[in-house]
Every structure is written in structure tokens, then in C-alpha cells.
């Protein structure tokens, strides 16, 4: 089971209503994944020498306390903190690697959920509608969003095991299916310096994409490599700072449907998640073919 949804806005005028369009898509997939939900929103890109982190903590009261002052002191730079429940979006005038190392040492209970210049990720156990409400999804603006509703099969129902998974800057991935060679690949990727936070198979796929992008491949090339190396059943929806991609394994037994209008591209496990969008009735609708990579935006 599990449901995945993605919405990429081609018409910039729609950006103010990204969340209003996207929240019903996520909530419609509740039947497929009532255990947890999560979403990534790409919005408000920060400056070239800044990093935007989304952090999560089991003890937000103490972890978010004085975080801004502590970072400012440590890096001698400005830091902006926007706590949202047990998540916090933090913008730092520093490179991601150094800041992440500092967080590991000084806030060991804090998980880095996402990092980059525009990505923000929110995920939580519970019904999709509650998760959407908790993180004010319906009022979010942005350029694109990717979401997941999870029925847990491969690992525990925890916030950390919820999708989307992000292991690299501005890259995130949601997955419907299961990978059979993830343990083997995780060991290989760890040797190449990719750090994993969970035992989840999808995080391995995200780590794989991150390594390939670090090695200089384009998103399209990274997905091509994935078709060769990743074994199992999968439909992936992938977001980057300015790109959006969908790919299915060669057997293609995990459902997927794509729809496109002048204004938007939408991907979902089932069409009913797309049916709410304005113009869905007359959109070009098709089922993504097995073993074929579909991309929009800057991906080459």
C-alpha cells in the first residue's frame, strides 16, 4: 500500500495556492496510508551562502530553546528559526556540512529532516489530515510539493521512518513499493560516505540518488542508474530545487498516474487524488510506462 502524490506548478501564478491544491491530494490518499504522512515543499529559496534546514526533535521545548543564539555564537553569523511544533525550519548563513556537524554535537536529539536552499520537509505519525493541519499545509505557498501517506511494512511507525526521505541538498524522494536489495546497497553507499538515519528501504533509494548527483550526474542520469541498480517494486516521485521526476520499475505493479495541464503537472498513486485539481477533467492523463523516466523543470 502507501500513497504518493506530487504537484509541480508550471504556472507561477498558482504558487500562492500550492498548499490549497496539494493538501486535498495528500488527504485523499489516507486509505492507502493512515499510519503516517509527510510532505516536502519547495519555497522561499535562501541566499547562495545560506542553508535552510528542517529539523525535528522528540523534545522540542529544550532543543529549540536558545538554538538561534547558540548557532549565532558558534558560527558568528545570523540564524533564523521558525519552530513548527516538533519541527523547526532554520536558516543559517553557513554551509550545510559544517552546520550539520555542529548540530550532531550540540543538539544530539535533533534529526535533520531536510536541508538545502528551498526544501522544507514535515512528517509525522498519524492521519494525513492531522499532519497537514499540524504543519499548516493548506496555506503553504511554493513551486512544487511531494507527499506520502504511509502504511508501514518495512520498518516501524515512527516519524523518522515516515517519508519523504532527503539525504542530499534539496533532493527528496517518496516511494510506493519495496526494495529487495536495500541492505546491500546501504552498506555500499555508507562506504561512499552517505549517512543513513533509519533502516528504511526508501532512504537507501534517496541515498543512492544523492551519491549519483554528488558524482556529477544529472537527475535524469541518476534515475537511469537507479533503474539498473535498485531491485524491487517501486514507483518513485522525486523533487529537486527546480525539478520533478517520476519513474516506475520495469514490472510496474505499483500504481501511478500522471496528469498535465498548462498550469500544473500532478502525479498520484490513484487518480482520485488528482480529481480535485482545477482542470483535472480535461487534463492530459496517462499511466507512466514501466522503466521510463518522466521529468519536468531543470533535470539535465
Amino acid at each position: 500500500m502507501c500513497g504518493i502524490v506530487g504537484l509541480y506548478l508550471k504556472d507561477q501564478n498558482l504558487q500562492a495556492s500550492l498548499g490549497a491544491l496539494f493538501a486535498p491530494m495528500l488527504i485523499e490518499m489516507t486509505d492507502r496510508g493512515p499510519d503516517s504522512a509527510g510532505f516536502a515543499i519547495y519555497r522561499d529559496p535562501v541566499g547562495e551562502h545560506q542553508t535552510k534546514f528542517t529539523l525535528a526533535s522528540d523534545d522540542p521545548d529544550s532543543d529549540w530553546k536558545n538554538l538561534g543564539t547558540d548557532i549565532t555564537k558558534a558560527f558568528d553569523c545570523a540564524a533564523r528559526i521558525d519552530p513548527q511544533g516538533d519541527h523547526a525550519v532554520v536558516v543559517i548563513d553557513a554551509e550545510a556540512v559544517a552546520a550539520q556537524a555542529w548540530l550532531g554535537k550540540n543538539r544530539p536529539g535533533v534529526r535533520v529532516v531536510g536541508s538545502g536552499r528551498s526544501i522544507e520537509i514535515f512528517k509525522q505519525t498519524g492521519l494525513p489530515k492531522d499532519v497537514a493541519e499540524q504543519f499548516k499545509l493548506a496555506s503553504a505557498r511554493g513551486s512544487h510539493a511531494i507527499g506520502h501517506t504511509r502504511m508501514a511494512t518495512e520498518s516501524a511507525v515512527t516519524t523518522a521512518g515516515s517519508h519523504p526521505f532527503a539525504t542530499g541538498l534539496d533532493l527528496c524522494l517518496v516511494h510506493n513499493g519495496s526494495l529487495s536489495n536495500h541492505n546491500h546497497l546501504r552498506r555500499q553507499l555508507e562506504r561512499s560516505g552517505i549517512v543513513f538515519q533509519t533502516e528504511n528501504d526508501t532512504e537507501v533509494a534517496a541515498g543512492f540518488m544523492t551519491l549519483k548527483l554528488r558524482q556529477g550526474l544529472s537527475l535524469h542520469e541518476a534515475l537511469e542508474a537507479g533503474l539498473v541498480e535498485l531491485d524491487g517494486f517501486y514507483t518513485f516521485c522525486v523533487g529537486t530545487a527546480d525539478g520533478f521526476a517520476v519513474v516506475r520499475d520495469p514490472i510496474a505493479c505499483k500504481h501511478a498516474v500522471l496528469a498535465e495541464t498548462e498550469g500544473w503537472v500532478a502525479m498520484a498513486t490513484e487518480y482520485r487524488a488528482i480529481a480535485h485539481l482545477p482542470g483535472a477533467d480535461t487534463a492530459r492523463i496517462w499511466e507512466p510506462e514501466p522503466h521510463k523516466i518522466y521529468t519536468w523543470g531543470s533535470v539535465h
Binding site: A252, C253, H255, V257, E270, Y271, R272, A273, I274, A275, H276, A280, D281, I285, W286, E287, E289, P290
Partner: protein, 227 residues
């Protein structure tokens, strides 16, 4: 024509209204508005109704149908007309995975394309696809006719029993135990009748016939080492 607004009343209410109708009912013609891609619309009908669905539907639409003529004006999700017994289901757009799966009778017409596993384990239904079909179509197909006016993707008719497959375009590859067979006059007549019933203007002479080599589903003592 009577109307049902699915968005307003939900799938369960629409289906129970249709289930309550019998052969002599006053209203035989029904229009379902706003299907919103929901699943199991017009499933389990058992009366000679004409049901038109105005828009795209989700999974299993028209499943287990008996007698009713169901027209989907749009695309259909997974398993359209699965396990149909009689009647007709028509999709004016394309259909997803496993269209007509395990269906025993009736006619399924898909005017656009059908995705993978079209006619999987079909048991007597006739399926006519105006466009192309995806991989593994006709998998373990037991009885009935599958007509594809476009192309068929890989592994067509894998492990097929006694269903007959007609394809006008290219076949990506044939599955295990599926072979091309001679198109005899009686096949051309059957095919012409079916194309006419489906309302598709196609020349039967364009089609090739595929079926079982019958080497797989009877145990062969020479294969004993394989078990």
C-alpha cells in the same frame, strides 16, 4: 434519464440505488455525475440497465457486472470490469492495469489504450481494445477473445490456456507457450463480428492470431527434471 451525483452522495449510495433496480423498473437509464476517480463505481449490477458515468473512474469500475451496459466517458483505473459475467462495459478513454481480469462473460470495449496485464486470467469475456495494450496482457488467459487494434507490449499471452488473441500491430514479444497461429476463415468471421459489436471500424484482415502452444499446461514427462 435519471441522474445520480456521486460527489454529493458517495459511492455506496450510488451503488445501492442501482442494486435496488430490477428488469421491470421504471428508470432503466442512469447518468452518474462527478465520479471523482472513486473506486468500485457501478459494481455488482444485475439488471439490464444503461449506466453512463460522466468522467474518469478509479479502480474496479463495473466489476462483477451482469446484464448492465455501462459506459465510462473518460479513463478507467485498475481492474475495470474485473470478473464481469455478462453485459457490456465501454471505456471511451484509456484503462489502467488488469482490465477485464478474470471476467467470465460479456463485452469490454476500451476505445483508447489498456495498460499492463489486460485480460489477465480472462475466463470467457471478450475484450476489444481500440489502441495498444501493455506488457503481460493475456497472462494465463483461459477463454474468450482479446482483440488489440494497436500494438501489444512484451510477454503477450504468457502461460496462456485457450483464449484467442488478435493483434493488428506489433507484438513486443510473446510470453511462454504463446505462439502465432494461422488465421482461418472462422477466426476472421468471429473477429469481424466482435469488431462490429464494439463499434470499431477495423479491417479484420490486418490482424494476426496468437494462442497457446499447449506445451506448458499439460505435464510432460520430459520436463520431470525441472520440478
Amino acid at each position: 434519464m435519471a441522474e445520480l451525483d456521486l460527489k454529493a452522495t458517495g459511492v455506496r449510495s450510488v451503488n445501492s440505488t442501482l442494486h435496488g433496480l430490477t428488469a421491470g423498473a421504471n428508470e432503466q437509464d442512469w447518468l452518474i455525475k462527478n465520479p471523482m476517480g472513486q473506486h468500485a463505481i457501478a459494481c455488482g449490477l444485475d439488471a439490464p440497465l444503461n449506466v453512463t458515468i460522466d468522467g474518469h473512474v478509479g479502480f474496479y469500475c463495473g466489476g462483477m457486472n451482469q446484464q448492465a451496459v455501462i459506459t465510462i466517458q473518460g479513463h478507467a483505473g485498475v481492474g475495470v470490469a474485473e470478473n464481469m459475467m455478462s453485459g457490456q462495459v465501454r471505456v471511451t478513454g484509456s484503462a489502467s492495469d488488469a482490465a477485464g481480469a478474470t471476467a467470465h462473460g460479456g463485452l469490454l470495449v476500451i476505445e483508447g489504450d489498456a495498460s499492463s496485464r489486460c485480460g489477465i486470467s480472462m475466463k470467457g469475456v471478450n475484450i476489444v481494445v481500440g489502441g495498444s495494450v501493455g506488457h503481460m496482457s493475456g497472462f494465463m488467459a483461459q477463454s474468450g477473445l482479446l482483440v488489440v487494434c494497436g500494438d501489444a507490449s512484451d510477454a503477450l499471452g504468457d502461460s496462456i490456456y485457450e483464449a484467442i488473441l488478435f493483434v493488428a500491430g506489433k507484438v513486443g514479444s510473446l510470453g511462454a507457450d504463446c505462439i502465432e497461429k494461422e488465421m482461418r476463415p472462422e477466426h476472421l468471421i468471429k473477429l469481424a463480428d466482435l469488431l462490429e459489436a464494439a463499434g470499431l471500424d477495423q479491417d479484420p484482415a490486418r490482424f494476426r492470431r496468437y494462442g497457446s502452444a499447449r506445451a506448458l499446461y499439460n505435464f510432460d514427462i520430459d520436463n520431470v527434471d525441472a520440478y
